[in-house]
Symmetry: C2
């Protein structure tokens, strides 16, 4: 591809091509990050981040400002992609009930931005977009069937099938953290029982350790309010049996869940993101053994890649970018 003054235009075989620019915004719990991208460059033309201040009024105005801050001089913006924690409706662009943000309950976020800037605007949730970002720009490049799973405070997922993001009728598909892996299992953060998230998320690992400590199991871990999955991992690496068992259990159930996801989606790659997935063999050795024991036909594993996410903190932004690009046919 010829070198150009990025984002403006380029002369290519004598034809002037206006570069398509998309703006992506990742609305996180603490930060709102915006960036403008030309089609042919991985790095943004401009980027900006500001505090989200979710509990304070004026969220829409802050979002508009941060988009203005990265608006390119050429003005050739063809689409805006927004990523936000759910629940939300990607078909209408409405936020439904974001936690800690009463101002944005049932709020037409994408329509408001589209009206303000006069540019097509698309919205989806952070996990779906991280999956879409990894598919298009990260570990999933070249794959057509991608299963992205983030294991963190919760368990979220983004699924790409035949090069298209799985969204579903209400836009609530791929909530794989809330797939039931054991009907009699412990309560999930959502209040329902036995979800994958209630076994294998960070808080689930901590909760298991606390319950075992309460029942008198010996460990170098102490019952502290601040105890987190990282502490448990550190104790496991020091050989603490309870801590090791806590990760074994999380990995085993993750394998059970993922076996079912293979039977349901049959992807060619599984990409793990999120803090808890950083602990390596502690989680993934039992995961791997459990998965292999549970997959009901060996063919699912043929040529299946299992890998870590590549985009890190950029996944949300690049996912929102990918959403905007794909929706306008780029």
């Amino acid at each position: 591809m010829s070198q150009t003054s990025p984002g403006i235009s380029k002369i290519h075989y004598g034809i002037i091509i206006i570069m398509s620019i998309v703006i992506a915004v990742d609305i996180g719990g603490t930060q709102m990050r915006a960036a403008a991208y030309t089609q042919d460059q991985l790095n943004p033309l401009k980027q900006k981040k500001i505090p989200t201040l979710a509990t304070e009024p004026g969220g829409l105005e802050r979002l508009i400002h941060v988009i203005e801050d990265v608006w390119p001089e050429s003005d050739a913006v063809t689409a805006i992609g927004l990523g936000s924690p759910g629940p939300l409706d990607p078909h209408t662009g409405y936020l439904l009930a974001p936690p800690n943000n009463p101002e944005w309950h049932n709020f037409p976020l994408a329509p408001e931005i589209e009206k303000h800037f006069g540019v097509k605007t698309f919205l989806d949730n952070d996990a779906n977009l991280a999956g879409l970002g990894e598919y298009r720009y990260g570990a999933g490049k070249g794959h057509h069937h991608v299963l992205y799973i983030t294991v963190s405070t919760g368990i979220g997922a983004g699924v790409v099938i035949d090069d298209r993001l799985l969204q579903g009728f209400h836009g609530l598909a791929a909530e794989l953290g809330h797939v039931i892996v054991d009907p009699d299992g412990p309560p999930c953060s959502c209040g329902f029982n036995g979800h994958l998230e209630s076994f294998s998320s960070g808080p689930a690992i901590v909760k298991y350790v606390l319950a075992e400590l309460d029942s008198g199991v010996k460990s170098i871990l102490k019952r502290e309010k601040s105890l987190n999955a990282r502490d448990v991992a550190d104790a496991a690496l020091k050989g603490d049996e309870l801590a090791i068992r806590a990760y074994q259990r999380a990995g085993e159930y993750l394998g059970i869940g993922v076996a079912s996801f293979l039977h349901a989606f049959d992807p060619s790659i599984i990409i793990f993101g999120g803090g808890v997935s950083q602990v390596g063999g502690l989680l993934f050795d039992p995961f791997d053994a459990s998965l292999k024991r549970r997959v009901f036909h060996p063919r699912y594993l043929e040529g299946l890649a299992i890998t870590q996410a590549q985009l890190g903190d950029e996944a949300g932004l690049l996912g929102a970018r990918a959403l905007a690009e794909m929706k306008i046919g780029l």
Copy 2:
């Protein structure tokens, strides 16, 4: 649409349009059924059925003959669609390991038919195609996100997402009877434990009754080799408590499985086919209660249709037809 001599050609606004004809074959365990369809008619131009004779040699020749039998005089066949029990690879058109048919192990069925007739030929499994048939010609018409589940000797599924059949990387997606609903559950027909099929299929219902009879539970049902799910349903309708409980259990686990499928696929319609799904409230009252208790957000149920399959014995043929039509862009 104007009346025409079906399958040949029609004069429409002065332009001669050659009618596209597809041939569909449903290769069942006992019968092979073939039919030729024009694009604008629900009923076939021609149809034929012959015994499958799966355990006898000459299967490919029989398949070729039955296709020849429905071959239209106009010769304007643009595609052939084949449906068969799995496992198979829809991407290559190979049968992998059909039960009771050693001749067709790892057999290039679609390539052989394509070579013989010089017409593009496509293959997929019976459950996927029944789902695709219902989506295009049956209960799912007008829906874009369809979950078809057949509850019978096994539990199979066909999933349409955004108007496209879910096939997956190896063509093994949507094996929803083998999703794990309870890791400690009973063995499935496939040998693995705790699958939906091991709780809610016909044989699973019978197995539960037999185990309860063995443990001394009173019932009008007797321990007989020929006992089937229909007998259990009859006993339940006469008020037999064990029989009622057997269907309650099957329905409860079906609800648990389907709740997870909603979280994963978020369809706008669930279509039930298969013999066991004919029993009505016996299965679907406990299913309904279980589903409502297990869906983790009420929005999944908004506007969700739950209904019976419409195509009956035609589902396989119309699914194979739909596959052929969709693959060539009709």
